[in-house]
């Protein structure tokens, strides 16, 4: 691989750091707050070096309180700043649920536009890293059910940088999930300059004709492995944005292939796969050769790590669903 002079090979987590640094250089309204984001650079090192460059007033170690982090970020955002709070793990979004869903999501419409909340909440997401309880969940559906929020999840370093900068510039609150399992899984060339990718647009990873696979975050990697192993011609879609959904890209693909499998880490019931399944069915019914299949985590608590790989869908389970759908 060759890297152009204006590009650097980086991992997904490095792309996150780079996006933050780029945007903080360009816009001094951007302020980072959270637990351990300062000197320590965050427990995943996503904010490494930022306090040194931008100072302790712009990269702020807050008290250990998630509702406090989000609630005060809302006030910052309402008053001309561009806060980028970090919640340390998705399992600790719970204490902030109320500020996210009762306030961040509602201020624009509650005040008919007088107040807005241009805040980007960064949250490491998902399982597979051998971590303790509540460090491996996949709560994206909860926030996608909440009108007023946007939910974004990149699956590559390039997307991570472009989508994070777009999120920070977005005039509305964004929950930016970072697939921690692939934080350091691979590198790719990422432009050094700031750039944005559109929120709400999915990416067709590989084109295919037999069946559409929809995935997001770390599941994109698993789905790609499955597609590679499959004899069928798979069209793999990486959602990139979970809310609002890029309905057009999904529907156009399934209209073409007539078959669809959706992969998620979250429990089956009421996960995003259910939404995509019902959407596709309603809008592509007469094109469907088989029902949309969901490959998901089980409707159990994500087990501690001894069994986590039993829980998480991998290429095997994805391919079983692909095969079954093809044979339907």
């Amino acid at each position: 691989m060759t890297t152009a002079a204006n590009e650097t090979e980086m991992t997904l987590v490095q792309a996150v750091t780079d996006a933050l640094a780029c945007e903080m250089r360009l816009d001094d309204r951007v302020i980072i707050l959270g637990e351990d984001v300062g000197l320590n650079g965050g427990v995943f090192r996503a904010t490494e070096g930022l306090q040194a460059e931008f100072g302790a007033d712009r990269v702020v170690d807050s008290p250990l309180a998630e509702s406090g982090i989000i609630g005060s970020s809302i006030g910052l955002a309402m008053n001309g700043m561009r806060p980028v709070p970090e919640l340390q793990f998705e399992g600790f979004m719970g204490p902030a649920y109320d500020q996210l869903c009762s306030h961040a999501a509602r201020f624009r419409t509650r005040t008919r536009g007088r107040f807005t909340v241009p805040m980007t909440v960064r949250v490491p997401h998902g399982g597979g890293i051998h971590a303790p309880e509540l460090h491996s969940d996949a709560p994206e559906a909860i926030y996608a059910h909440q009108p007023g929020l946007k939910v974004v999840m990149p699956a590559t370093p390039y997307d991570a940088k472009g989508l994070l900068i777009a999120s920070i510039r977005d005039p509305d609150p964004v929950i930016f999930f970072e697939p921690k399992r692939i934080y350091r899984a691979f590198r790719e060339a990422v432009p050094n300059e700031a750039y944005t990718l559109p929120i709400g647009k999915a990416r067709v990873v590989t084109e295919g004709t037999d069946l559409t696979v929809v995935a997001w975050g770390a599941m994109v990697v698993e789905a790609a492995k499955a597609a590679e192993q499959s004899k069928a011609s798979i069209e793999l879609i990486d959602l990139r944005t979970i809310s609002p959904l890029d309905e057009d890209t999904i529907l156009a693909s399934v209209e073409k292939t007539g078959r669809c499998v959706v992969c998620q880490e979250a429990p089956l019931t009421l996960g995003l796969a259910s939404e995509i399944s019902s959407l596709v069915t309603e809008r592509c019914f007469l094109h469907l050769e088989a029902p949309v299949q969901r490959v998901a985590g089980f409707d159990t608590i994500m087990p501690y790590y001894k069994l986590e790989m039993e829980y998480l869908p991998g290429p095997d389970r994805i391919n079983a669903a692909i095969d079954e759908t093809l044979r339907y």
Partner: protein
Amino acid sequence: MPITTAYETRIDHVSILDEHGVFDETLGQDLISEDQLPAIMEHLVFCRQLDEIAFKLQRSGRMGTYPQNTGQEMPSLAAALAIEKADWLVTCYRENTGLFWHGLPPECILLHWMGDERGNHIPAGVNATPIAIPIGTQMLHAAGLGWAEKAKKTGAIAVTFFGDGATSEGDFHEAANFAASLKLPVVFCCQNNGWAISVPSSVQSAGETFAQRGISYGMPCVRADGNDLFAMTKVMKDAVARARAGEGPTFIEAVTYRLRDHTTADDARRYRDAGELETWEARDPLPRLRRWMEAKGLWDKSQHEKAMKSGEERVAEIISNAEEIAAPDRSEFFDHMYADLPASLKRQRDSKRTTSLGQFPEDLA
């Protein structure tokens, strides 16, 4: 010395114009200029009228649930007197006097309780947040608003109001702790009105005072007679000065009383002692101020009658403004969901259909 003192503190109680009409000349001096007092009195008369009429509007089906402010007029008004236009009032729902003084059109409050979000569209230039329905959540927004002013180095500050009940919520704790730890320019004012709906304040805290809630965070704490405009103005001015000087937050407990039902949906006779109510009716902050002003020659009966009359007229006008506003468009609630409405929401708005087949557009409502 195996047992030593780890920590020691005391909290002041401040009273200036007490319930018996005694005025402390030392503390009270130059707090509020005598020139300003008649306008304040007019404002109070008007606010009380609006509050009582709002009750009647609800009873006659012209408004939804409404929480009366009567009896709690002084704390937020004192805050409004103590702050500048650029400062923020981040309130709950019993702070009409302060909000109106700070520039909020009273129509906004009525529209809100008439079930219309347009009442929350605070006019540009008025730094106030809308009525906070979920209890105890707005103080964190105040912390953030103040933080932003600090970051922008404007010198502006935020004053936030909440009830005794609200201090039981975790968000109160996090807001106070963030403000103290990060030295944010915020003033916390707890209106201890004795009740949270039917629950007495003794259930909200086993502490002797609510003022001591602030000790946890290492911030200065003070308790004041919340029915005394002068005492409230003094503690507010001190707290505002401290915040503006970069010295961080202050915690104020304003001891007051809810003279009416919790809201129009409530009936306080179910749980509240008539005797307690009587005691507090005697401490009603409006007559107290009026008597003192009359004794000082700053107000008289004819001024009062004039104020009552002009108040009535203003109230009538405000109500008709609020009632005569054109009904919102049927799909107005889509308009401010996002800066740009996503395609799927546009389809929902245009079709008024969440179902998705849409093959029969003639069915659309």
